[in-house]
Symmetry: C2
Subunit: 205 residues, 2 copies
Protein backbone atom coordinates (compact mmCIF):
# COMPACT_ATOMS: atom_id res chain seq x y z
CA UNK A 1 0.00 0.00 0.00
CA UNK A 2 1.12 3.51 -0.77
CA UNK A 3 1.66 5.87 2.12
CA UNK A 4 -1.29 8.18 2.83
CA UNK A 5 -0.73 11.51 1.05
CA UNK A 6 -1.70 13.47 4.17
CA UNK A 7 0.59 12.73 7.11
CA UNK A 8 -1.22 11.90 10.35
CA UNK A 9 0.46 14.76 12.17
CA UNK A 10 1.94 18.06 11.12
CA UNK A 11 1.78 21.56 12.54
CA UNK A 12 -1.04 22.58 10.22
CA UNK A 13 -3.30 19.72 11.29
CA UNK A 14 -2.42 20.18 14.96
CA UNK A 15 -3.30 23.89 14.66
CA UNK A 16 -6.58 23.17 12.87
CA UNK A 17 -7.58 20.63 15.52
CA UNK A 18 -6.62 22.93 18.41
CA UNK A 19 -8.68 25.73 16.83
CA UNK A 20 -11.71 23.41 16.46
CA UNK A 21 -11.44 22.53 20.17
CA UNK A 22 -11.10 26.21 21.16
CA UNK A 23 -14.05 27.19 18.95
CA UNK A 24 -16.14 24.54 20.72
CA UNK A 25 -14.91 24.78 24.31
CA UNK A 26 -12.75 27.90 24.67
CA UNK A 27 -9.73 25.77 25.52
CA UNK A 28 -7.76 22.71 24.38
CA UNK A 29 -5.43 20.11 25.78
CA UNK A 30 -2.68 18.22 24.00
CA UNK A 31 -4.26 14.81 24.80
CA UNK A 32 -7.56 16.04 23.26
CA UNK A 33 -5.70 17.01 20.07
CA UNK A 34 -3.96 13.63 19.98
CA UNK A 35 -7.25 11.78 20.44
CA UNK A 36 -8.96 13.66 17.58
CA UNK A 37 -6.03 12.97 15.28
CA UNK A 38 -5.81 9.32 16.31
CA UNK A 39 -2.26 9.80 17.58
CA UNK A 40 -0.34 9.45 20.84
CA UNK A 41 0.03 12.56 23.01
CA UNK A 42 3.83 12.20 22.87
CA UNK A 43 3.74 12.27 19.08
CA UNK A 44 1.96 15.65 19.12
CA UNK A 45 4.69 17.09 21.37
CA UNK A 46 7.23 15.88 18.81
CA UNK A 47 5.89 18.44 16.29
CA UNK A 48 5.37 21.55 18.44
CA UNK A 49 7.09 23.57 21.15
CA UNK A 50 4.82 22.38 23.97
CA UNK A 51 1.32 23.62 24.74
CA UNK A 52 2.55 27.24 24.58
CA UNK A 53 3.82 26.56 21.08
CA UNK A 54 0.34 25.46 20.02
CA UNK A 55 -1.14 28.68 21.48
CA UNK A 56 1.28 30.65 19.26
CA UNK A 57 0.31 28.57 16.22
CA UNK A 58 -3.33 29.43 17.03
CA UNK A 59 -2.43 33.12 17.31
CA UNK A 60 -0.71 33.07 13.92
CA UNK A 61 -3.64 31.22 12.35
CA UNK A 62 -6.32 33.59 13.72
CA UNK A 63 -4.25 36.72 12.96
CA UNK A 64 -3.31 35.49 9.46
CA UNK A 65 -6.55 36.89 8.02
CA UNK A 66 -5.86 40.43 9.26
CA UNK A 67 -5.26 42.26 5.99
CA UNK A 68 -1.51 43.05 5.95
CA UNK A 69 -2.10 45.92 3.55
CA UNK A 70 -4.03 47.98 6.09
CA UNK A 71 -0.92 49.22 7.89
CA UNK A 72 0.55 50.49 4.62
CA UNK A 73 -2.36 52.81 3.90
CA UNK A 74 -1.94 56.58 4.18
CA UNK A 75 -2.38 58.74 6.14
CA UNK A 76 -1.64 57.02 9.46
CA UNK A 77 -5.20 57.35 10.82
CA UNK A 78 -6.73 55.68 7.77
CA UNK A 79 -4.24 52.84 8.29
CA UNK A 80 -4.92 52.45 12.02
CA UNK A 81 -8.67 52.48 11.49
CA UNK A 82 -8.53 49.93 8.64
CA UNK A 83 -6.25 47.68 10.75
CA UNK A 84 -8.74 47.86 13.65
CA UNK A 85 -11.62 46.82 11.36
CA UNK A 86 -9.69 43.94 9.84
CA UNK A 87 -8.49 42.83 13.31
CA UNK A 88 -12.07 42.78 14.62
CA UNK A 89 -13.28 40.67 11.68
CA UNK A 90 -10.45 38.16 12.15
CA UNK A 91 -11.17 37.61 15.84
CA UNK A 92 -14.95 37.73 15.47
CA UNK A 93 -14.60 34.44 13.55
CA UNK A 94 -13.14 32.82 16.71
CA UNK A 95 -14.65 34.59 19.74
CA UNK A 96 -13.84 31.74 22.13
CA UNK A 97 -10.15 32.07 21.29
CA UNK A 98 -10.04 35.68 22.49
CA UNK A 99 -9.55 35.09 26.25
CA UNK A 100 -6.91 32.40 25.61
CA UNK A 101 -4.91 34.59 23.22
CA UNK A 102 -5.32 37.79 25.31
CA UNK A 103 -3.93 36.13 28.44
CA UNK A 104 -0.93 34.30 26.92
CA UNK A 105 2.30 36.17 26.07
CA UNK A 106 2.83 36.93 22.38
CA UNK A 107 5.80 35.01 20.98
CA UNK A 108 4.73 34.23 17.40
CA UNK A 109 7.28 35.98 15.11
CA UNK A 110 4.70 36.84 12.45
CA UNK A 111 2.45 38.48 15.05
CA UNK A 112 5.35 40.38 16.68
CA UNK A 113 6.16 41.63 13.18
CA UNK A 114 2.60 43.05 12.90
CA UNK A 115 3.11 44.96 16.16
CA UNK A 116 6.46 46.23 14.85
CA UNK A 117 4.67 47.60 11.79
CA UNK A 118 1.92 49.23 13.87
CA UNK A 119 4.48 50.87 16.21
CA UNK A 120 6.48 52.07 13.20
CA UNK A 121 3.34 53.61 11.69
CA UNK A 122 2.71 55.66 14.83
CA UNK A 123 6.37 56.61 15.38
CA UNK A 124 6.58 57.83 11.78
CA UNK A 125 3.32 59.76 12.30
CA UNK A 126 4.98 61.69 15.14
CA UNK A 127 3.49 60.10 18.27
CA UNK A 128 5.49 60.33 21.50
CA UNK A 129 7.03 56.89 21.99
CA UNK A 130 5.50 56.47 25.48
CA UNK A 131 1.99 57.02 24.06
CA UNK A 132 2.18 54.30 21.42
CA UNK A 133 1.62 51.03 23.32
CA UNK A 134 -1.19 52.42 25.52
CA UNK A 135 -2.97 53.65 22.38
CA UNK A 136 -2.47 50.40 20.44
CA UNK A 137 -3.63 48.31 23.40
CA UNK A 138 -6.67 50.56 23.93
CA UNK A 139 -7.59 49.98 20.27
CA UNK A 140 -7.05 46.23 20.71
CA UNK A 141 -9.21 46.15 23.87
CA UNK A 142 -12.06 47.87 22.04
CA UNK A 143 -11.56 45.63 18.97
CA UNK A 144 -11.56 42.39 20.97
CA UNK A 145 -14.47 43.43 23.19
CA UNK A 146 -16.37 44.36 20.03
CA UNK A 147 -15.42 41.03 18.39
CA UNK A 148 -16.97 39.21 21.35
CA UNK A 149 -20.03 41.44 21.07
CA UNK A 150 -20.43 40.40 17.40
CA UNK A 151 -20.93 36.83 18.68
CA UNK A 152 -23.76 37.97 20.96
CA UNK A 153 -27.39 37.33 19.98
CA UNK A 154 -29.08 40.18 18.08
CA UNK A 155 -31.62 40.37 20.94
CA UNK A 156 -29.14 40.74 23.77
CA UNK A 157 -31.54 42.17 26.39
CA UNK A 158 -34.63 40.06 27.05
CA UNK A 159 -36.96 42.40 28.86
CA UNK A 160 -39.61 41.13 31.25
CA UNK A 161 -43.27 41.40 30.18
CA UNK A 162 -44.07 43.60 33.22
CA UNK A 163 -42.16 46.51 31.63
CA UNK A 164 -39.90 46.97 34.64
CA UNK A 165 -37.32 48.72 32.44
CA UNK A 166 -39.25 51.16 30.20
CA UNK A 167 -36.31 53.42 29.34
CA UNK A 168 -34.08 50.50 28.39
CA UNK A 169 -36.94 49.31 26.14
CA UNK A 170 -37.14 52.77 24.54
CA UNK A 171 -33.37 52.98 24.00
CA UNK A 172 -33.27 49.48 22.45
CA UNK A 173 -36.20 50.25 20.14
CA UNK A 174 -34.43 53.41 18.94
CA UNK A 175 -31.30 51.51 17.84
CA UNK A 176 -32.87 49.03 15.44
CA UNK A 177 -30.66 46.57 13.56
CA UNK A 178 -26.90 46.41 13.48
CA UNK A 179 -26.52 47.15 17.20
CA UNK A 180 -23.05 45.58 17.46
CA UNK A 181 -21.73 47.40 14.39
CA UNK A 182 -23.07 50.77 15.58
CA UNK A 183 -21.45 50.32 19.01
CA UNK A 184 -18.11 49.47 17.39
CA UNK A 185 -18.33 52.53 15.12
CA UNK A 186 -19.03 54.83 18.10
CA UNK A 187 -16.11 53.34 20.03
CA UNK A 188 -13.69 53.44 17.10
CA UNK A 189 -14.62 57.02 16.24
CA UNK A 190 -13.99 57.99 19.87
CA UNK A 191 -10.58 56.34 19.95
CA UNK A 192 -9.53 57.73 16.55
CA UNK A 193 -10.49 61.28 17.57
CA UNK A 194 -8.53 60.82 20.78
CA UNK A 195 -5.55 59.40 18.85
CA UNK A 196 -5.46 62.50 16.61
CA UNK A 197 -5.42 64.74 19.69
CA UNK A 198 -2.69 62.64 21.36
CA UNK A 199 -0.52 62.91 18.26
CA UNK A 200 -0.72 66.71 18.15
CA UNK A 201 0.06 66.83 21.87
CA UNK A 202 3.00 64.41 21.42
CA UNK A 203 4.44 66.54 18.62
CA UNK A 204 4.27 69.68 20.73
CA UNK A 205 6.03 68.19 23.74
CA UNK B 1 -29.22 12.67 63.61
CA UNK B 2 -30.03 16.32 63.07
CA UNK B 3 -30.34 17.57 59.52
CA UNK B 4 -27.21 19.29 58.18
CA UNK B 5 -27.51 23.06 58.66
CA UNK B 6 -26.28 23.73 55.15
CA UNK B 7 -28.52 22.18 52.53
CA UNK B 8 -26.68 20.18 49.90
CA UNK B 9 -28.18 22.27 47.13
CA UNK B 10 -29.42 25.81 46.89
CA UNK B 11 -29.09 28.54 44.29
CA UNK B 12 -26.17 30.19 46.11
CA UNK B 13 -24.11 26.99 46.20
CA UNK B 14 -25.00 26.12 42.61
CA UNK B 15 -23.88 29.62 41.53
CA UNK B 16 -20.63 29.40 43.51
CA UNK B 17 -19.81 26.02 41.97
CA UNK B 18 -20.68 27.16 38.44
CA UNK B 19 -18.42 30.21 38.90
CA UNK B 20 -15.55 28.01 40.12
CA UNK B 21 -15.91 25.86 37.00
CA UNK B 22 -16.04 28.93 34.73
CA UNK B 23 -13.00 30.47 36.45
CA UNK B 24 -11.12 27.24 35.81
CA UNK B 25 -12.33 26.22 32.36
CA UNK B 26 -14.31 29.12 30.87
CA UNK B 27 -17.48 27.01 30.82
CA UNK B 28 -19.62 24.71 32.96
CA UNK B 29 -22.13 21.91 32.56
CA UNK B 30 -24.97 20.98 34.89
CA UNK B 31 -23.60 17.42 35.40
CA UNK B 32 -20.22 18.92 36.44
CA UNK B 33 -21.97 21.11 39.03
CA UNK B 34 -23.93 18.12 40.33
CA UNK B 35 -20.75 16.03 40.61
CA UNK B 36 -18.90 18.72 42.60
CA UNK B 37 -21.85 19.09 44.96
CA UNK B 38 -22.30 15.32 45.34
CA UNK B 39 -25.83 15.53 43.93
CA UNK B 40 -27.80 14.13 41.02
CA UNK B 41 -28.00 16.25 37.85
CA UNK B 42 -31.80 16.19 38.06
CA UNK B 43 -31.68 17.65 41.57
CA UNK B 44 -29.70 20.65 40.32
CA UNK B 45 -32.36 21.33 37.67
CA UNK B 46 -34.94 21.30 40.46
CA UNK B 47 -33.43 24.53 41.88
CA UNK B 48 -32.72 26.59 38.78
CA UNK B 49 -34.35 27.59 35.50
CA UNK B 50 -32.18 25.32 33.33
CA UNK B 51 -28.64 25.95 32.21
CA UNK B 52 -29.63 29.46 31.00
CA UNK B 53 -30.90 30.19 34.51
CA UNK B 54 -27.48 29.34 35.92
CA UNK B 55 -25.83 31.70 33.40
CA UNK B 56 -28.08 34.49 34.72
CA UNK B 57 -27.21 33.63 38.32
CA UNK B 58 -23.53 33.90 37.30
CA UNK B 59 -24.21 37.28 35.67
CA UNK B 60 -25.89 38.57 38.82
CA UNK B 61 -23.06 37.26 41.00
CA UNK B 62 -20.25 38.79 38.90
CA UNK B 63 -22.12 42.10 38.44
CA UNK B 64 -23.08 42.30 42.14
CA UNK B 65 -19.74 43.92 43.00
CA UNK B 66 -20.24 46.80 40.55
CA UNK B 67 -20.70 49.74 42.91
CA UNK B 68 -24.39 50.72 42.61
CA UNK B 69 -23.60 54.23 43.83
CA UNK B 70 -21.58 55.08 40.71
CA UNK B 71 -24.64 55.75 38.54
CA UNK B 72 -25.99 58.23 41.12
CA UNK B 73 -22.93 60.47 40.97
CA UNK B 74 -23.14 63.88 39.33
CA UNK B 75 -22.57 65.16 36.73
CA UNK B 76 -23.45 62.38 34.25
CA UNK B 77 -19.91 62.00 32.90
CA UNK B 78 -18.46 61.47 36.37
CA UNK B 79 -21.12 58.79 36.90
CA UNK B 80 -20.49 57.02 33.58
CA UNK B 81 -16.73 57.01 34.10
CA UNK B 82 -17.02 55.68 37.68
CA UNK B 83 -19.44 52.98 36.52
CA UNK B 84 -16.97 51.93 33.78
CA UNK B 85 -14.12 51.63 36.31
CA UNK B 86 -16.22 49.62 38.76
CA UNK B 87 -17.52 47.40 35.92
CA UNK B 88 -13.97 46.65 34.76
CA UNK B 89 -12.86 45.69 38.27
CA UNK B 90 -15.85 43.35 38.73
CA UNK B 91 -15.20 41.45 35.50
CA UNK B 92 -11.41 41.47 35.85
CA UNK B 93 -11.94 39.14 38.83
CA UNK B 94 -13.54 36.58 36.47
CA UNK B 95 -11.95 37.02 33.03
CA UNK B 96 -12.96 33.54 31.82
CA UNK B 97 -16.63 34.38 32.46
CA UNK B 98 -16.51 37.30 29.99
CA UNK B 99 -17.09 35.40 26.72
CA UNK B 100 -19.87 33.30 28.26
CA UNK B 101 -21.70 36.34 29.65
CA UNK B 102 -21.13 38.50 26.55
CA UNK B 103 -22.65 35.91 24.25
CA UNK B 104 -25.75 34.95 26.28
CA UNK B 105 -28.85 37.18 26.36
CA UNK B 106 -29.29 39.28 29.51
CA UNK B 107 -32.36 38.19 31.48
CA UNK B 108 -31.31 38.71 35.11
CA UNK B 109 -33.70 41.33 36.59
CA UNK B 110 -31.04 42.96 38.77
CA UNK B 111 -28.74 43.37 35.77
CA UNK B 112 -31.53 44.71 33.53
CA UNK B 113 -32.21 47.20 36.33
CA UNK B 114 -28.58 48.41 36.11
CA UNK B 115 -29.01 49.01 32.38
CA UNK B 116 -32.26 50.88 33.09
CA UNK B 117 -30.37 53.17 35.45
CA UNK B 118 -27.54 53.75 32.97
CA UNK B 119 -30.02 54.56 30.15
CA UNK B 120 -31.92 56.91 32.49
CA UNK B 121 -28.68 58.70 33.38
CA UNK B 122 -27.96 59.41 29.70
CA UNK B 123 -31.55 60.30 28.82
CA UNK B 124 -31.64 62.78 31.70
CA UNK B 125 -28.28 64.19 30.56
CA UNK B 126 -29.85 65.03 27.20
CA UNK B 127 -28.51 62.34 24.88
CA UNK B 128 -30.52 61.50 21.76
CA UNK B 129 -32.27 58.21 22.54
CA UNK B 130 -30.81 56.44 19.48
CA UNK B 131 -27.26 57.27 20.63
CA UNK B 132 -27.58 55.72 24.08
CA UNK B 133 -27.24 51.96 23.50
CA UNK B 134 -24.37 52.27 20.96
CA UNK B 135 -22.50 54.46 23.46
CA UNK B 136 -23.17 52.18 26.45
CA UNK B 137 -22.16 49.08 24.46
CA UNK B 138 -19.00 50.81 23.19
CA UNK B 139 -18.07 51.55 26.82
CA UNK B 140 -18.84 47.92 27.77
CA UNK B 141 -16.73 46.57 24.89
CA UNK B 142 -13.77 48.67 25.99
CA UNK B 143 -14.36 47.75 29.65
CA UNK B 144 -14.57 44.01 28.98
CA UNK B 145 -11.63 43.99 26.57
CA UNK B 146 -9.64 45.89 29.20
CA UNK B 147 -10.78 43.46 31.93
CA UNK B 148 -9.37 40.59 29.86
CA UNK B 149 -6.17 42.57 29.33
CA UNK B 150 -5.79 42.93 33.12
CA UNK B 151 -5.55 39.12 33.26
CA UNK B 152 -2.66 39.17 30.76
CA UNK B 153 0.93 38.71 31.93
CA UNK B 154 2.82 41.95 32.67
CA UNK B 155 5.33 40.94 29.97
CA UNK B 156 2.84 40.38 27.17
CA UNK B 157 5.29 40.61 24.24
CA UNK B 158 8.24 38.23 24.44
CA UNK B 159 10.69 39.61 21.92
CA UNK B 160 13.22 37.41 20.18
CA UNK B 161 16.90 37.84 21.11
CA UNK B 162 17.81 38.70 17.51
CA UNK B 163 16.09 42.11 17.89
CA UNK B 164 13.82 41.56 14.89
CA UNK B 165 11.37 44.17 16.29
CA UNK B 166 13.49 47.12 17.50
CA UNK B 167 10.71 49.72 17.45
CA UNK B 168 8.31 47.49 19.38
CA UNK B 169 11.12 47.03 21.95
CA UNK B 170 11.54 50.81 22.17
CA UNK B 171 7.80 51.45 22.57
CA UNK B 172 7.52 48.76 25.28
CA UNK B 173 10.51 50.15 27.19
CA UNK B 174 8.95 53.63 27.13
CA UNK B 175 5.72 52.45 28.81
CA UNK B 176 7.16 50.92 31.96
CA UNK B 177 4.85 49.46 34.58
CA UNK B 178 1.05 49.55 34.65
CA UNK B 179 0.69 48.92 30.93
CA UNK B 180 -2.87 47.57 31.22
CA UNK B 181 -4.04 50.47 33.40
CA UNK B 182 -2.53 53.06 31.07
CA UNK B 183 -4.19 51.50 28.03
CA UNK B 184 -7.56 51.50 29.82
CA UNK B 185 -7.14 55.16 30.80
CA UNK B 186 -6.34 56.16 27.21
CA UNK B 187 -9.37 54.25 25.92
CA UNK B 188 -11.73 55.56 28.57
CA UNK B 189 -10.58 59.14 28.07
CA UNK B 190 -11.20 58.76 24.34
CA UNK B 191 -14.70 57.40 24.82
CA UNK B 192 -15.63 59.99 27.48
CA UNK B 193 -14.47 62.86 25.25
CA UNK B 194 -16.50 61.38 22.40
CA UNK B 195 -19.54 60.95 24.67
CA UNK B 196 -19.43 64.65 25.64
CA UNK B 197 -19.35 65.60 21.94
CA UNK B 198 -22.22 63.19 21.13
CA UNK B 199 -24.33 64.74 23.88
CA UNK B 200 -23.89 68.27 22.59
CA UNK B 201 -24.70 67.06 19.07
CA UNK B 202 -27.76 65.16 20.34
CA UNK B 203 -29.06 68.24 22.15
CA UNK B 204 -28.70 70.37 19.04
CA UNK B 205 -30.58 68.00 16.76
Amino acid sequence: MARPRTPLLDRERITTTALQLVDEHGDFSVPQIAKRLGAQTGSVYHHVDGRDGIVELLRERVASVIDPGTLSQTPWDTALEAWARSYRAAFAAHPKAIPLLMTSPVRAPRVLEQYERAVTLLLDAGFAVADIMPLLVAVENLVLGSALDLAAPETMWELTPDAATPRLAEALAAVGEGRADRAFEVGLEGLMTHARALRVHGKRS
